[in-house]
């Protein structure tokens, strides 16, 4: 299953809700959620912990737009729009944590 997160981890509980609820699979961070995948962010430890259960991806155009393309945490997989489409089509279901 693919979980899609689009809110900043420091202004919304959507990432936490996803991590607390979902049992595993793919997570893609898009829009303001990409901040969760940057080194030094307060969410970094939680995200690293989640890597044991989930494969975590980040939409690079959104990270680059925010000036943080060079701060991606090791172990998070960078994807472009095509990669996002592949994730959506390779998973049977997807959940957007709006």
């Amino acid at each position: 299953m693919l979980h899609i997160i689009n809110k900043s981890p420091l202004t919304s509980v959507t990432l936490d809700s996803c991590l607390n609820t979902a049992t595993g699979g793919d997570i893609i961070l898009i829009e303001d959620a990409v901040y969760a995948a940057t080194s030094g962010n307060a969410a970094e430890a939680r995200l690293r912990e989640a890597m044991s259960k989930f494969k975590i991806h980040v939409l690079m155009p959104d990270l680059e737009a925010r000036g943080l393309g060079d701060r991606l945490i090791d172990g998070v997989s960078p994807v472009d729009y095509g990669g996002f489409v592949d994730l959506a089509s390779n998973n049977k279901t997807s959940q957007s944590w709006l």
Partner: protein, 121 residues
Amino acid sequence: MSEAKKFMFVYRKAPYGTIYALESLEVVLISAAFDQDVSLVFLDDGVYQLKKGQQTKGIETKNFSPAYRALEDYDVEKLYVEKEAMEMRGLTEEDFLVPVTVLSRAEMGKLMDEQDVVLSF
């Protein structure tokens, strides 16, 4: 002409995820054009608005971050960043595209109390 009022703009949202940051810049420039005493305050995710190196080609959105550099030309020179917010996001003063004054939350609160007008974005 009447005496300038102290205007504070409070930014708490990241750029691009919502339209707030972009829209607020328009309002700042209007206030500055009327010779008001303008302060810009960046709290919470608002500190991300000032991050250097924004490259928006990939999301096909206008990169409005250079506008913060132009503020100086409108005599908007009081930019304040919340220390705690900056640190929680792994950022330092060197990450910002314009010179800023870093203040603690307590100092921000005091500054807020001194204003005549506060506008929130």
